[in-house]
Amino acid sequence: MNMNGGQALMKALENEGVDILFGLPGGAILPVYDPLIDSSIRHVLVRHEQGAGHMAEGYAHATGRPGVAMVTSGPAATNIVTPLCDAYMDSIPMVVVTGQVPYAAIGTDAFQECDTTGITMSVTKHNYLVTEAADIPQVIHDAFYIATTGRPGPVLVDIPKDIVDPNNPRSAMEWYTPDSHDLPGYLPNQAGDAELIRQAAKLICEAERPVLYTGGGILKSRGAEALLELAELTGIPVVTTLMNRGGFPDDHPQCLGMPGMHGNYTAVTAMQEADLLIALGARFDDRVTGKVGEFAPLAKIIHVDIDSAELGKVRRPDVAIQGDCRVVIEELVKALKEMGGSEAQPDRNQWRSRISGWQERFPLTYEQSKGDELLKPQYVLEQLRDSTPSDTIVASGVGQHQMWTSQYWKFNHPYTWVNSGGLGTMGFAIPAAIGAKAGRPDRMVWAVDGDGCFQMTAQELVTAATEGFPIKVALINNAYLGMVRQWQEMFYEERYSEVYLTRDVPDYKMWAEALGCVGLRVESPEEVGPAIAQANEINDQPVVVEFRCEAEENVFPMVPAGMSNSDVVVDPSQRDQPR
């Protein structure tokens, strides 16, 4: 079938199962927006290209399917670099199509030209500059394959205008459906080595104080059920990193919650005291380990990861298994059953009672506001958690509100937590929530945002309002860049430098209304519940609820950067407790 490159691009995307595309047109990508009209793919017109990228990420987080964004050349391409880097750090499958100046003009500093593949080389799993229309079907097929297999990640496809422009003879091509990949350097492996899995099972059967240290690889591999089986077979307690919140139910008796810099005391300390860490799809990130040399000093390490470069990158494992988390866990469960299953596990009552002692002495805690004081953000989040369905999808920005959400929410379902972990991208919440809602229209989607974050990407609420994505935003307005304020309080002798944002400017309620949302403002504890209930009832419009919160509230526990996890700073009210 004869067609032009633009038609081929649309057909190729349809063939990959793309149902929604987040984008914004412009000069170089213009010819592709014409065949888009005839395509089955829904296009969501964003207000800034960064929004398109984060929406694609949110969609991928919530559905497991690759998110797709399409923008033009030059400034549009540079605007989407942040989401690409975000997706690269958090292993999010995403395909981004960018327009490029005509092939013959590349390198001439043409209008809206930039070296997109050069700029994005270090923030993509792979990228392509397509030079011939005939290459489009194969490149798109390969791009989705690379983005979704092995360790998932973003792939960018840069397309010069001439090969998609029907008025240019270079766009003429014959359609073909690629049936294979010509990628001699890319052979992702899923299965783990059987002998190593047996060794891992043996270590598990010998461990007296084991901890399952579970990361984003659990969710990426659709491995939550397998993890539950492994945990229940062995009785081993589970910590869920920021990237695996929801990958193991918070209400499960073995769940210790989030470890790391703002993890809860029990999760942090259990890892510190463990004699075996079973790291599943986790990468020993500095926010989890604290000072690496003093992290889990007594523990042997079993490390399972799809990316062999993670094995030994930070901490030398005793057993390193390259493979897909779900596949390896299933094999591990088999091996453990062959060794006697739960019968073969040593008596760990002492370990369990130490853990429950920590849980009793050091629960998450905060002091409720009194009298005229403003709201406590933790209280707001508890109320929100308790008055929304348990499968609500929560997207968050980056900072204090993100940590409080991860701490106080009860994640009992996989794919309900959407956040920017590795890159820590402020402004992630709103566009990511829109993407999640696009992927899961059946679910209630709340974005929990800070006032600093909100001001970075609030314009995408226009997209939500006009494209019909009734997301809800809980805006934790504490008038500060709160996390930075907390660091200045704790580590810079309360010398506050450029962190005050003001309480009343902008007027968030009016701004929300101007953006096409319902705007609500909440200032006292008794208004919190009714406002959330009101927001939950609104399904034809996005809602922004501004919660006016205490500025001085700090996130605890906290392991100060560069310190050992053994020196975790607990809430002031718990500092006299024996450790």
Binding site: M121, H126, P184, G312
Partner: protein, 174 residues
Amino acid sequence: MTAADDGGTTTLVVRVENKAGVLARVAGLFARRGFNIESLAVAPTDDERFSRLTIVVGVDAAPMEQVVKQLDKLVNVVDIQELNPSASVERELMMVTVRAEPEIRGQILDLVRIFQATVLNVGYDEIMVSLTGSPSRVDDFEGLLRPYGIVDVQRTGKVALPKLVKAAPDPLAP
């Protein structure tokens, strides 16, 4: 596992797809992961789909295992051989122009003969020669020419292939 020679370097022979931008991907990876390249040689292979990069990496710069694993993650990298100097044959080409007034030209030609180097071009008071050899032999030659006054020198960086198996197969083996 790490193959370090006396110079504290390791040689990686990397087969890559012969596609635009591949060298930039490899060089960019070294730069952003903080690995240091001592020398780099690029050449086509007998299969036109692939090129071969010979990269000499300072072993102090980074754990070699990380260098290799990160390189291997590049989609265009097909395979990587880590060459231990004692198990490989290494060669480098040097072209050098050296001061050679007519009265001392003979001394230079003596060195050329001893090292089995090649005279490429002769001027009134300069001479251009080339030498192919192991990197240490090329170092020696360059060192001996230095006192005469090196005007210009170009070295390719080394290329390497693994040494071949010496023992014949056991005729009784199945």
